[in-house]
């Protein structure tokens, strides 16, 4: 019986690098959300000032950026799935408190992590790995290899996000 499997290398490469089409998808989603944010009004508040409104809007823009990126990456990476879930919960509750370092660890694959820590190779990397787990969405339950792979992809997507946001900001006619 023939196995019709994509060889690991090709599949990994396809999943590895954020592409130009990702950049386009993200830019479009983000811009559309920006326009929607522009039309929105903050809830009426006695302390409302224009600087407060700017900060309120900045929070929405920040959320929109991460959400647009996570959606553009889709479900094919663990970090994007985890981030989408976190953001949906955050936006549903209208709270924005430290989602980046969520303390609610999924207990699913902590066992794998413990096995890894026994190996002496990772001893000096453990502290770094531990920090990465807090920084990469969904990192808490990843084995070290997946964590490193997801980190690489996550970093490149973050860079893309920053680049697009910067070019929008600089492209604004003043």
């Amino acid at each position: 019986m023939r196995q019709k499997q994509i060889p690991n290398k090709a599949r990994d490469t396809a999943m590895k690098n954020p592409t130009n089409s990702l950049k386009r998808r993200f830019s479009l989603k983000f811009l559309k959300t920006l326009m929607r944010i522009r039309k929105s009004r903050p809830p009426p508040s006695p302390s409302a000032s224009s600087s407060w409104e700017i900060r309120w809007r900045a929070q929405k823009i920040k959320l929109a950026a991460y959400f647009s990126m996570a959606l553009s990456v889709g479900s094919k990476r663990t970090w994007s799935r985890a981030l989408t879930m976190k953001l949906r919960a955050t936006m549903g509750n209208r709270r924005w408190s430290s989602w980046k370092g969520s303390k609610k660890m999924t207990k699913r694959r902590i066992v794998a992590k413990k096995n890894m820590e026994k190996r002496h190779l990772e001893k000096d990397m453990n502290s770094g790995l531990q920090q990465l787990r807090q920084l990469v969405p969904g990192g808490e339950s990843m084995d070290p290899r997946s964590l490193l792979e997801e980190t690489a992809h996550f970093v490149r997507c973050l860079e893309t996000q920053v680049r697009v946001m910067r070019s929008i900001a600089e492209g604004f006619p003043c």
Binding site: L28, L31, K32, L34, M35, I37, R38, S50, E53, I54, R55, R57, A58, Q59, I61, K62, A65, Y66, K100, R109, A112, K114, N115, M116, K118, L121, E122, D124, M125, S127, G128, L129, Q131, L132, L135, V136, D143, P144, R145, L148, E149, T151, A152, F154, V155, R156, L158, E159, Q161, V162, M165, R166, I168, A169, F172, P173, C174
Partner: protein, 92 residues
């Protein structure tokens, strides 16, 4: 994911090898601007991870700053519908 037995000495395909880890770490090293030019092997894995964390944090900070900036720019869009039309045309 195949389960891993911590006491197994078999080098099956499911076992994570040192080479794979080293490979991934060096790939990360190439991503980090701080470390990109130091192609020598002198950068330890833990340093790469540490710098990666710092880099991610700095990227988050940039997103914060850019969000603030975009918010101010959006506010200035309010008053000029010509600019809004330009942005809208970008989306077409």
């Amino acid at each position: 994911m195949s389960s891993r037995r911590s006491h197994s000495r078999q080098s099956g395909s499911s076992r994570i090898t040192e080479d794979q880890i080293a490979d991934l770490v060096s790939k990360l090293q190439r991503l980090i601007p701080e470390l990109r030019n130091r192609h020598s092997d002198k950068v330890s894995a833990s340093k790469v991870l540490q710098e990666t964390c710092n880099y991610i944090r700095s990227l988050h900070k940039e997103v914060d700053d850019l969000s603030e900036r975009l918010s101010e720019l959006l506010a200035s869009l309010e008053t000029d519908s010509d600019q809004a039309a330009i942005i809208r045309s970008l989306l077409m």
